[in-house]
Symmetry: C2
Subunit: 152 residues, 2 copies
């Protein structure tokens, strides 16, 4: 498939505001509405666009405390890994979990209301998962930059 500069501009714009109408996009890109429509459909079908989502304000819904947790497993047998990853997937507080290189096995991004809720999460949820060796938490003091928008 051809993926050209116009498609890149389109993706940038749709990332910034997916509620824009095709007419607005056509004006911005100097294309007809139909051309914009067909390009978007193509980007959706080819899998360039995975989904459309509403971005929620964390502060408004009382989830403004962010922490990154390093987790080390006791062992790395297939069973332990699979069960840990499955359990982590079920935790609403964990938005992201990466298997990473380095001293620890995993890096988790955790979002809760406040420090007290974080303590609750650690004591009652994360550390109750079997096979966890050790954890190390970093707290976000300030979000300097936070986006999912990929620029070309």
């Amino acid at each position: 498939m051809i993926f050209d500069e116009t498609d890149k501009k389109l993706l940038e714009r749709l990332q910034n505001d997916s509620k824009q109408t095709n007419k607005e996009l056509s004006n911005a890109l100097g294309l007809s509405v139909t051309a914009v429509y067909e390009r978007i459909k193509k980007l959706e079908k080819e899998g360039y666009i995975d989904s459309y989502t509403a971005v929620i304000n964390k502060r408004k819904i009382n989830r403004n405390f962010v922490a990154f947790c390093h987790v080390k497993l006791l062992q790395h047998s297939q069973d332990f890994v699979v069960s840990f990853e499955k359990e982590v997937n079920g935790l609403n507080e964990v938005l992201e979990c990466y298997h990473v290189s380095g001293d620890y096995d995993y890096l988790l991004k955790v979002i809760v209301k406040d420090m007290e809720a974080f303590r609750e999460f650690m004591v009652k949820k994360l550390t109750t998962i079997n096979h966890i060796g050790s954890t190390h938490s970093m707290f976000v003091i300030n979000e300097v930059k936070q986006t999912n928008i990929i620029r070309f």
Copy 2:
């Protein structure tokens, strides 16, 4: 403002798919289209919904290498901090930058094409920023969980 269970369900659904029609939402929630429409407008105006965005497939656009970089500054004077944060904001490879507690000052999420591109980024962009003391990088081996969707 009243923020009830119906609003939470609405936000969850809009996070999962912001292209749903109000009619689909009304069926799912057992509400009238008018009620759904007015609730969404309220959530937008009150700031519960920050924006609507298209979620892009990183692999399709050749940005499938993810790394987390710890950065320590040489000093923490106001000038150094401000200029570092400003420079980082201008780097397209850096999607997220957090001022964090712990041994390092910052944690950055970096997205590039591959390891070679990461090396380029480190040598020619990140480490050319003034006042950087040291860095420590972790590479993502596997994305176990990766979402921005907040569940209630």
